[in-house]
Amino acid sequence: MTEIFGIPIQAFLGQLMLGLVNGAFYAMLSLGLAVIFGLLDIVNFAHGALYMVGAFAAWIMLEKWGINYWIALIVAPLIVGALGVVIERLFLKRLYGLDPLYGLLLTFGLSLILEGIFRDQYGVSGQSYPVPDALAGATNLGFMVLPNYRAWVVLASIVICLGTWFLIERTRLGAYLRAGTENAKLVQAFGVNVPLMVMLTYGAGAALAAMAGVLAAPVIQVTPLMGSNLIIVVFAVVVIGGMGSILGSVVTGLGLGVIEGFTRVFYPEASNVVVFVIMAIVLMLRPAGLFGKEA
């Protein structure tokens, strides 16, 4: 049997595949963070909580009203997006022009609130969301048995990421977004309805997080804490990528997912810290991150 780094090639490819699946979640979440950070200059600490709310929304829809996965995949992000809009109108709006650290602290508080409410309502051991029938089962790829659902996750996330990238880097709306990031007032003085744009961007970022949540629901247990466990790793991903470009966050997300996956094989004890170690190394070599622009 052929081996790579002392493990059979089958296992190697299998682990690569699994790494990509996790990377897909990192990519989608860091993408939303980057979009929100870009335009609102806010590090959205609540991103993890919104991801969790997305997953719960899907679960509640299924449990209470029997609404299926495919509809939830559209509706849950819409609901959470609307929640994002409300959050932006009620809270974030009041922080524009202040030190971005306040945004971080406010969203930190919001994530505690959201998490607390769901804890109170649904407990913490979590809920189980079944894999949709159409994607049930697994495909034997020869080197591994890949559950169909996981393949779908990778596919869906890549499509979402590329779509977002195109929207922001290649369209006029994207140009408004990027310009608004730097000087929203001026863009508005040119005749662009910036407050609306900002509101919708936060909504869209929240919706992206929620969509990641729905995609994750069948894979991991839906619990109130699922977001806060993930968000710090995503922060590290963002720091490594450098928030410089949308594409950067996607590539970094996928890449780190894979690296983390292999750590689980070669040195599982370190798999929780490997992302942080990489972060430290990258920052020593490139303080602005891999794709970040030098300040």
Partner: protein, 234 residues
């Protein structure tokens, strides 16, 4: 007098707690070039910013083509046909020079074409794909002016546009303003560089401590040199 395009009455404006404009009154007719003069900190920039809605609180009345704009959001004001070129230029780093140029949405018909603009500022053409803030100071200034000429705005608010430009470019800008005037554009010019503004403007307002203190026309320029000496040290 021709149609009144802009009429400002008793305009007060604040930055946070600090009260900067104390009852500004001025009016601009269609097709006119008006220059605001004054020392540093007199409130000229603030007047322009107040017109487009970029100060904090403001009170009084700003009528643009008869329409009250004091309570409007900035993007609505812009859509009345105003182009604003800010003092600090406001070039966007994350956009290329060309994207910067194309950024402001059209707010009227008959804006300059990109080819015309590049003809006027060849530097911009050369640096079109460079990130906006990588342009030199002067190039950024050109870009800031060029950007609003594209939008078809008929009322231009220009803040210190000759700043930091080589004399040769300053001359070119002066020509441009003459051309625009000939085409019927209305322009409010805020200039520190009196020699640049003097021959261009039809009328002058002098500001001091957030108020208009004098107003005179081009032909009264000679008669007012003593006064200008006093106010501006020219």
């Amino acid at each position: 007098m021709a149609n009144e395009l802009l009429r400002i009455e008793n305009l007060n404006a604040w930055y946070g707690e600090s009260h900067v404009l104390h009852g500004v009154n001025l009016n601009v007719a269609e097709g006119e070039v008006v220059s605001l003069l004054g020392r540093n900190g007199a409130g000229r920039t603030t007047t322009l910013r107040a017109i487009v809605g970029l100060t904090g609180r403001r009170t009084g009345s700003i009528r643009i083509r008869g329409q009250e704009a004091i309570a409007m959001a900035p993007h609505k004001i812009a859509r009345l046909g105003i182009g604003y070129c800010p003092e600090e230029r406001g070039i966007f780093a994350s956009l290329s020079a060309e994207e910067n140029l194309m950024l402001p949405p059209s707010v009227g018909s008959g804006g300059m074409s990109v080819a015309e603009i590049y003809g006027m500022f060849p530097n911009l053409k050369e640096r079109a794909s460079s990130p906006g803030t990588r342009l030199s100071g002067g190039e950024q200034q050109m870009l800031a002016v060029a950007r609003i000429l594209r939008t078809g705005a008929r009322l231009l608010l220009l803040d210190e546009i000759s700043e930091g430009l080589a004399p040769v470019i300053v001359q070119k800008l002066a020509e441009t303003i003459r051309t625009l005037k000939a085409k019927g554009y209305t322009i409010v010019l805020v200039e520190q560089n009196f020699r640049f503004a003097a021959p261009l403007a039809d009328r002058f307002y002098v500001m001091e401590h957030g108020k208009i203190v004098r107003e005179f026309a081009q032909r009264e320029l000679q008669a007012n040199t003593a006064m200008l000496q006093e106010f501006l040290g020219v």
